[in-house]
């Protein structure tokens, strides 16, 4: 009885989770005349793979993907580097302003990103970074959560690790790079995945910063296509599927890292 109930719950939820993706995939290969037929068809009558070349040629879609990839990879590099440097300092050194700095980390975690877009926009204008990919990346090159996670990772390491290295006469930077970083690899992997997925899917900030089409990230590009390609859902569907692929693949390949990392930042 209990088992049967569990099974029903799981099947229903899995179907609800997956059907929208199947619907997206179906729409992406439908012909124009099949988009708004009623009743809607789940399995397309014809398979028009041209929709994919269509979206690729009609707008600079490849460029959107390259821009998103640039933004996401830069974000990953910056966040890993800056968070692990600061997290190391907060976890493994005692110094005068440590409490104050950690307080700033916690405070920044409480500030909603959405309220910062106005002053960030004026800052980015002042720095002449408006309408540039660097303008998208730089304000979130490090975030409180990342420093918090890396501090947590370094705190968990046993005390005597660096003592041995210091006795060997290792310089602090070398200690950090070749002794400490390898020991927190799981946390680095988790932070990298989160940053990539977050940055790939980010919308409000890139939309505020980016003005010209050749700088759009794929999310901004898709939302604009939605406005201009009203009659061409199938192109938008093909584009959405292409834009989903990188994060879906990353997640499927790294599921284990992802799940472990999820829990390290969850208060568990």
């Amino acid at each position: 009885m209990r088992k049967a109930l569990s099974r029903i719950v799981i099947i229903t939820a899995s179907a609800a989770a997956v059907i929208p993706f199947l619907w997206l995939a179906a729409t992406s290969v439908k012909g124009a005349e099949e988009l708004f037929v009623y009743p809607p068809t789940f399995i397309p009558r014809t398979f028009q793979w041209e929709n994919y070349t269509g979206v690729w040629n009609a707008i600079p879609f490849g460029l959107y993907l390259v821009n998103s990839l640039t933004v996401a990879l830069l974000s990953v590099v910056f966040n890993l580097l800056l968070s692990s440097l600061a997290g190391f300092a907060l976890a493994r050194y005692r110094f005068r302003y440590r409490g104050l700095l950690f307080g700033a980390v916690l405070f920044s975690m409480m500030v909603p990103k959405e309220m910062l877009v106005i002053p960030l926009f004026t800052s980015v204008l002042r720095l002449h970074l408006a309408d540039s990919l660097l303008g998208v990346v730089l304000p979130f090159a490090v975030e409180g959560m990342g420093i918090f996670l890396m501090r947590q990772a370094f705190l968990a390491l046993p005390r005597d690790v660096e003592e041995a290295a210091v006795m060997d006469g290792a310089a602090p930077l070398r200690l950090w790079w070749s002794v400490m970083l390898p020991m927190v690899r799981p946390s680095l992997a988790a932070l990298a995945i989160f940053t990539f997925i977050g940055s790939w899917g980010d919308f409000l900030w890139p939309m505020v910063v980016l003005k010209s089409q050749e700088h759009y990230t794929v999310q901004v590009g898709l939302s604009m296509m939605l406005g201009t390609f009203v009659d061409n859902y199938r192109y938008v569907a093909a584009g959405s599927l292409l834009a989903l692929l990188p994060v879906a693949l990353l997640f499927i390949l790294m599921q284990r890292h992802f799940e472990r990392g999820l829990l390290s930042g969850s208060g568990k």
Partner: protein, 284 residues
């Protein structure tokens, strides 16, 4: 130990960025909210005038109310994801693939989720109304009628969130000792009684964490509505849409910043609790 500048050098790059792009803008928003500050003109101190205007603006109250209504995704998400976690955790086979399927919506960018669901919600020819019509329900005005179009955005949020919170509950459940549950079974407790009296009290930290994370995200809803109902009146949307309308469509930065301060106030209790929970967990 002698005075050591090493930790400062390690911390400096991150804290320069954090200070300039997180802490300073927070203060700037507070300052801007006291200015008459249009993108196009010089700015001028006007005290609390933006707030007076805000509190007499019916659109502000409408969007604020919608942000509060959006909080109802929290209890829904808690029930759905806890039920899922309780069902999934005893799976012997296929647990990994089930988690994978339920988690795919979580990593899906909001824009793409919004696009797919907008088609599913399409009123005349959409999938959902078709399925409902088979049960002689509808057609439901998912996109064009308030408050139904608010519910549509909530459904997208629940769809994207259930896998995430399920994972948190699974982690919480993993910490419950087996003996505790077995004792409950021996006592002859029904499954529901067991969940209510035995598991829920033990899951309290997780329940609280899920509640505050989901709530602070709910108040900040924006992209779902931007994609799902672009043409709908502002009064059908939530507070961040109000901020966006004034700051980036009318370039009234002062007024937008005042709305931003209200947003900060609304999320503060949730995000403060979240950070407290994370910090306490870590130091224990």
């Amino acid at each position: 130990m002698k005075k050591n500048i090493t930790p400062y050098l390690f911390a400096a790059p991150a804290f320069l960025v954090l200070g300039y792009f997180s802490i300073l803008p927070m203060l700037q928003t507070a300052y801007y909210s006291t200015l008459e500050y249009s993108f196009f003109g010089p700015h001028r101190f006007i005290g609390a005038a933006n707030y007076v205007r805000l509190f007499t603006d019916p659109h502000f109250w409408a969007t604020l109310l919608n942000s509060l209504l959006f909080l109802s995704v929290t209890p829904v998400l808690m029930v759905v994801s806890l039920t899922l976690a309780l069902s999934v955790r005893n799976l012997l086979r296929g647990a990994r693939i089930v988690r994978l399927m339920l988690f795919l919506p979580v990593v899906t960018p909001v824009v793409i989720a919004g696009i797919v669901w907008r088609w599913i919600f399409t009123e005349e020819t959409g999938l959902l109304n078709h399925l409902l019509s088979l049960a002689s329900v509808g057609p439901v005005r998912w996109l064009t009628e308030f408050p139904t179009n608010l519910v549509s955005a909530m459904l997208v949020t629940v769809w994207r969130g259930m896998g995430y919170y399920m994972m948190l509950f699974l982690a919480g459940l993993a910490l419950v000792p087996r003996e505790v549950e077995e004792a409950g079974i021996l006592d002859g407790a029904t499954p529901l009684q067991q969940v209510w009296h035995v598991l829920l009290p033990l899951l309290r930290p997780t329940l609280l964490f899920v509640a505050v994370v989901s709530s602070s995200a709910a108040v900040k809803v924006f992209t779902e509505q931007y994609i799902l109902i672009p043409g709908a009146p502002l009064d059908n949307k939530a507070l961040v849409s109000f901020l966006y309308r004034h700051a980036f469509e009318r370039f009234d930065f002062g007024y937008g910043s005042a709305a931003g301060m209200v947003l900060f106030g609304m999320t503060l209790l949730f995000s403060y609790t979240q950070v407290r929970l994370m910090d306490r967990e870590q130091s224990s």
